[in-house]
Amino acid sequence: MLVLKNVSKKFGDFTALEDINLEFNNGVYGLLAPNGAGKTTLIKMLVTLLFPTKGEIEYNGVEITSLDEQYRNVLGYLPQEFGYYKNYTPEKYLNYLAALKGLDKNESKKRISELLELVGLGDVTRKKMKKFSGGMIQRVGIAQAMLNDPKILILDEPTAGLDPKERGRFRKILTTLARDRIIILSTHIVSDVESIANEIIMIKNKTILYKDTVTNISATLDRKVYEAEVAYSDLYRMREKYQILSERQERENMTIRFITRDQPSEKWKMVTPSLEDVFLYVYEDDDTLAGSAK
């Protein structure tokens, strides 16, 4: 079990996170917040790249910095900016990282080949990575994170720059890996985590806003989300009056999805709120979007 107790992080005078309390058991956790909200800061503390200014992070009851390499041995990490040597082949690069992870040379050979198969790179193990697409590089990133069969797998914005097909493939891989381990997946793309995360964590104003299931978080907007078909001439008025979640054009009219606590009009259709609705609602005019904590 991974626990954060009253964790704060400051960079000089700037407070990135404040009094974070979290608990992670086996399962997939989606860390969902806009860019600049402090996701990467939180993740970097979880992977020991940053040290909390205040508070403690414990794994199975022991502070992670005192566990030192024992903690890092159970850790798999895919950073937001996955670094690699473009003249290396995935096989060579994974062998290097296996050495850094202290894995046995012969065992890691087998493991590397299994993992590259798992992420669909079995036929390019000896091709230089400079020829790889963004999706292929990201899959190398996942393979390296899994090298030591980690108990805690932390992926920071793993789908950034991937096309929808690659993102689908990525979610499939994650589902395969999701047994018997903690997976923390940070993203600002709701669809990346909506279907696979056991729990969603949302950060706002430097603290944890929600840590709950997709259903429960979505339920916070129950009976408040509506869809309505409006003429273009009414669109401006609707925008002024309600918080619009989405708009789509349908023939001569626009279908808008919006939030209101007002008495609903008969023309409106009440809809089941989604995680995306909550995300858009929560982070509308959010000042963390202007932040720069990484």
């Binding site: 790249l49 950073p79 900016e81 670094g83 202290g102």
Partner: protein, 377 residues
């Protein structure tokens, strides 16, 4: 060890080795080839070189007063040979030059005398005349050796040290140009080694910083200890580079044929400088090579530190240029060339080495302490 090996292989990639090879070839052509190919450089140095080698074969490393008398006898025999040569030449007889003494006292303003001299010395290059000239230089050096030493060391108040040299190694045979040739070569070689170490080792952290692999490296089992592993890799790499250069250098230098002087003291009667240490030429070579290794390690330490702390290639180059310039100047002054020369107090030489090593150790220790608690942002 596996990680260190990987790091070394990363440093020694073929592109970098190609660049180092290019720098080495350029350096060899510009600064080293001459001292290998033209040693001893012309006449009479070549003749002096041969005569001094004959002397060692005959007298051993040292020539005492008795042996000096023998050397003078040999000189006289050579004079007789020169006389016989001159007397065998009608043109010299006709010009009234039948002895070596007359030959050396010829009026070179005179066209005929000058032509005769040019022919003997340069066109035909008659060995005995060059050899005699060489022997005269050697005899003169030997005769004034003590005065020269006393003059050079007049400011040094250490009678015991002076007495020891005057009673011993000042009689030894080692032409100054042999040491100068070695000094030229080892100086340029050490500069080449330093530049190569900088080029190769400077990449140790910065490439990983630039392409974000540090995030991965620092979250693995090795964690913050990566700094130590990379430092060891830098040191081993600089050791390998230095070994390679020193190895190649010693092979090439062996063709200069100076081995016969290895056991002679640097304080020989033919020395044109005085050293604090009364050591043999071989010991001097040994010490300068140790000095080169130390400098390579210091440079590797500084390059590793800067590679970790500087954020881009331009800054890394910019910071290292003044460091390299200062080191090169010090190498020229006393760190390798003229090591232990009395031109500088010995504590300056030793102090500079200790200072450089202490500086390297201090910045690395400070960095290692910081490394354990620094945020990797």
């Amino acid at each position: 060890m596996r990680v260190i090996w990987y790091e070394i292989r990363k440093l020694l990639n073929w592109k970098v080795l190609g660049l180092v090879l290019l720098i080495s070839l350029l350096f060899f052509e510009l600064f080293l080839r001459f001292d290998f190919e033209h040693f001893p450089n012309g006449r009479p140095l070549g003749d002096i070189f041969n005569v001094t080698k004959q002397m060692i074969n005959k007298y051993g490393q040292e020539m005492d007063e008795k042996e000096f008398q023998d050397f003078k006898e040999t000189y006289k025999e050579e004079v007789d040979r020169a006389n016989a040569y001159l007397q065998s030449r009608d043109d010299f007889v006709e010009a009234g030059v039948t002895t070596y003494e007359q030959f050396t006292n010829m009026d070179y303003e005179d066209k005929v005398a000058n032509e005769l001299f040019e022919e003997v010395m340069f066109e035909k290059g008659i060995d005995v005349f060059w050899e005699l000239q060489s022997r005269e230089v050697i005899m003169e050096s030997y005769e004034v050796r003590k005065e020269f030493f006393k003059g050079e060391t007049a400011q040094i108040d250490d009678p015991e040290w002076k007495r020891k040299i005057l009673d011993g190694s000042i009689n030894e045979i080692l032409p100054s140009f042999v040491v100068e040739n070695y000094n030229n070569l080892i100086t340029m070689l050490s500069i080449l080694i330093i530049l190569s170490v900088i080029v190769v080792v400077s990449r140790i952290f910065i490439t990983d910083q630039r392409n974000n692999t540090l995030y991965l490296q620092y979250t693995t089992n090795i964690g913050r200890k990566l700094f130590k592993k990379k430092l060891i890799a830098s040191m081993i790499t600089s050791f390998l580079i230095t070994n390679m250069y020193i190895g190649a250098f010693l092979i090439l230098y062996s063709f200069n044929g100076t081995q016969i002087f290895f056991e002679s003291s640097l304080q020989s009667f033919y020395a044109n400088t005085v050293n604090w240490l009364d050591i043999t030429f071989f010991q001097y070579i040994y010490i300068t090579i140790i000095g080169v290794y130390l400098l390579a390690f210091v440079v590797a330490a500084i390059a590793t530190y800067l590679s970790r702390t500087v954020s881009n290639y331009i800054s890394l180059i910019g910071v290292q240029i003044p460091i390299a310039v200062v080191l090169i100047l010090l190498i020229f002054e006393y760190l390798v060339s003229n090591l232990f020369n009395i031109a500088y107090p010995m504590y300056i030489t030793i102090g500079t080495y200790i200072g450089l090593i202490a500086l390297g150790a201090a910045i690395l220790t400070a960095r290692w302490r910081k490394e354990r608690k620094i945020d990797i942002v």
